[in-house]
């Protein structure tokens, strides 16, 4: 959908649709989500919790819970559709080509094995080392890259502080030199000082190693600091996507504007997504029209009946809103 005629994007997600089939009904967690990720690019994925960000990311790695179903779409990594691979080929993709930094690294490490062993495990499994011993230099290197002395690799996760554990998680995610790193709320459970450190570390590594990073967060200030491009999700669908400056200087979707309004001062990092009246839609009982309509201040008749499709209203600026049919957008600017 991007109009750049150059090399195909590193990751091209088309019409990703994921549902959860549960006894309580079908949850439309992600509907028709499309985006591209270029090499070395840092993409921010923003939205309230429960808007489908994490589900979309877990779908890419095919790590959904048992109730999850990818019912449509493609995820092309260098042209290969991840959803068409068989399970063992998919295992080879995980961590080696796309790795993930999970939220709350608290429980992301196995408590009864040393941190070093758990990093080495990934190397050995993907054939980058014959055994634990051979993996050791690389493990030390990785730990030192994130500012942990190699000797601490022989310690257990509970001997690490929260920030340290998250750094070790980052080291582990980089173990197999993946092309894409997905960071799912990497700073959520940490205090403010540590959050800043972790983001700085992520940004530095992204620059130095030329990684493509998808940063999932509900915190717009984080995006402003780290990302090149932003994708705003609401209720399982794309609301708006553009360069990071565009989001802050010229937000088009009413939801994005409400999000920004909740951040009067972007330099205040403790801000959260607050003060948008109403609740995010329940994904098993969606409104028939635009999913944001019940909370939107600029709602009109059409929004209640017809779902807006994402349209490119400015170069590289996509928005899914009836207010911004191509012409309407021009009026505003």
């Amino acid at each position: 959908m991007s109009e750049r005629p150059t090399a195909p994007p590193l990751l091209d997600v088309r019409d990703l649709t994921t549902r959860f089939i549960t006894p309580e009904g079908v949850f439309h967690a992600v509907e028709g989500l499309s985006f591209q990720l270029e090499r070395g690019e840092s993409l921010g994925l923003v939205g309230e919790s429960g808007c489908g960000k994490s589900t979309a990311m877990l779908s890419l790695l095919r790590l959904l819970p048992a109730a999850g179903r990818i019912v449509g779409g493609q995820a092309l990594l260098d042209g290969t559709d991840l959803f068409g691979l068989d399970e063992s080929d998919m295992r080879a993709v995980r961590w080696h080509r796309i790795s993930m930094i999970f939220q709350g690294a608290m429980n992301a490490f196995n408590p009864v094995r040393t941190v070093g062993a758990q990093i080495a495990e990934a190397l050995v499994f993907h054939g980058l080392a014959q055994d634990r011993g051979e993996a050791q230099p690389r493990v030390d290197e990785l730990l030192e890259m994130v500012g942990i002395t190699g000797a601490r690799g022989s310690q257990y996760p509970h001997q690490y502080s929260g920030g340290m554990r998250q750094r070790a998680m980052i080291a582990m995610a980089l173990a197999c030199s993946p092309q894409v790193v997905i960071a799912d709320e990497p700073t959520t459970a940490l205090d403010v000082m540590i959050q800043a450190q972790i983001l700085e570390l992520l940004e530095r590594l992204q620059r130095e190693l030329g990684l493509a990073v998808i940063l999932v967060t509900h915190d717009l200030s984080v995006v402003a600091e780290v990302c090149h491009r932003v994708l705003v999700m609401y209720g399982g669908v794309l609301a708006e996507s553009c360069e990071v400056d565009g989001i802050f200087n010229q937000p088009l979707h009413p939801y994005t504007r409400r999000l920004l309004a909740a951040f009067p001062d972007l330099s205040r990092p403790e801000g959260k997504l607050v003060s948008i009246p109403g609740y995010p839609p329940r994904l098993n009982a969606l409104p028939p029209g635009c999913r944001f309509a019940p909370r939107c201040e600029e709602v009109h008749e059409r929004c209640l009946q017809e779902r807006p499709k994402p349209r490119q209203v400015l170069p590289g600026h996509w928005v899914a809103c009836h207010l911004h049919e191509a012409g309407a957008a021009n009026d505003r600017t």
């Binding site: 790590l63 961590w95 790795s99 429980n107 992301a108 490490f109 196995n110 009864v112 257990y156 582990m172």
Partner: protein, 333 residues
């Protein structure tokens, strides 16, 4: 350092428990009605002098716990009892007319043989099947495993023993009583071992089935909990296969509650031994207790209870040590 503290604490705790058992044992046989020595010394048909003489003979004229009237603070029934125990004197059996310690010594080996075999089999099968059931959560295999476990848990041990005894002797010609064939001359040690093995088969099988159900249920819930932990998702994201995840990340963690259970369950095992040995006339401590009950052989009963209680406490201490080895978090709590 911390681990040593932990072990010291557990050891001190065991000593305390054993002391409590000693005191309980002492009072049980002094306070409750029914002890023949006490009854004789209080028999109203005897004249006062005879009663006094008997009481003096058995030391019943002394104060129960502490001697505050003179003759030394510790010149009491309790300390006389502890003193005798310290010298390995558990009293003399009414029934056999021999020291209780000697009788217990002859029998304890047989009980250990029986219990060890049954426990080992039950642990191996229980852990394996529990892992399988949890992995295949909510499939017919899992449901079948749960129903089997709950049924096995609900079987009275002695009744299962009787059923197996009838089936084994009728259809498989297996021996039903004792440790080896009476009056048999063995050509070799090997032949004797086979004979003992044949005698062991049914009692061991009974034991295994009764213990298996609970081990399986606990292992299943334990694995189920662990497979829902975040670090399992991490392991999956790292590209590990299901088998690797089960082996490297689920098994060790899931064994922790099993170790505790095995230790706590030893009391239950002892109960099983009493029943199994009674049904199969296996010459161990359990059948000794059964006989002692029938013949009101109180010294044997008291001695057996003491030995069993101390073994169970010791086994619990051993389990604590194993736990300390398995769980690195013990090192620095």
């Amino acid at each position: 350092m911390a681990r040593r503290d932990y072990l010291l604490k557990r050891a001190a705790w065991s000593v305390l428990t054993i002391l409590f058992v000693l005191i309980l044992n002492f009072f049980l046989f002094r306070i409750l009605p029914g002890d023949p020595t006490t009854s004789i010394a209080k028999d109203p048909r005897l004249d006062a002098d005879t009663r006094a003489a008997l009481a003096a003979r058995f030391g019943l004229d002394k104060p129960l716990v502490l001697n505050v009237q003179g003759g030394g603070l510790f010149d009491s029934q309790l300390f006389a009892y502890v003193d005798r125990l310290a010298h390995g004197d558990l009293g003399v059996s009414f029934n056999y007319g021999r020291p209780v310690g000697e009788i217990l010594g002859e029998r304890i080996g047989n009980t250990v043989l029986l219990v060890l075999g049954g426990q080992l089999l039950a642990i191996i099968l229980g852990v394996g099947l529990g892992l399988l059931a949890a992995w295949k959560n909510r499939t017919p295999l899992d449901t079948g495993a749960i129903i089997f476990s709950l049924t096995a848990w609900s079987l009275p041990t002695f009744w299962l023993g009787i059923l197996l005894l009838i089936i084994g002797s009728t259809y498989f010609g297996l021996p039903t009583a004792g440790r080896q064939t009476v009056g048999m001359d063995y050509a070799s040690v090997w032949a004797q071992a086979i004979d003992v093995g044949r005698h062991l088969l049914l009692p061991t099988l009974t034991f295994t089935i009764v213990l298996l159900g609970e081990y399986m249920l606990v292992m299943r819930s334990s694995v189920l909990e662990i497979l829902s932990e975040d670090y399992i998702l991490t392991a999956k994201a790292k590209g590990l296969s299901q088998g690797q995840i089960l082996r490297h990340h689920a098994l060790q963690n899931a064994m922790l509650p099993i170790v505790t259970l095995i230790a706590l369950n030893l009391g239950f095992t002892v109960a099983g031994a009493i029943q199994v040995e009674t049904v199969f006339s296996w010459p161990g401590v359990g059948s000794l207790i059964y006989e002692a009950v029938r013949r009101q052989d109180y010294p044997v009963l008291q001695g057996a209870f003491l030995v069993i209680a101390i073994s169970v406490v010791a086994a619990n201490l051993a389990a604590d040590l194993v736990y300390g080895l398995l769980d690195p978090r013990i090192k620095s709590p």
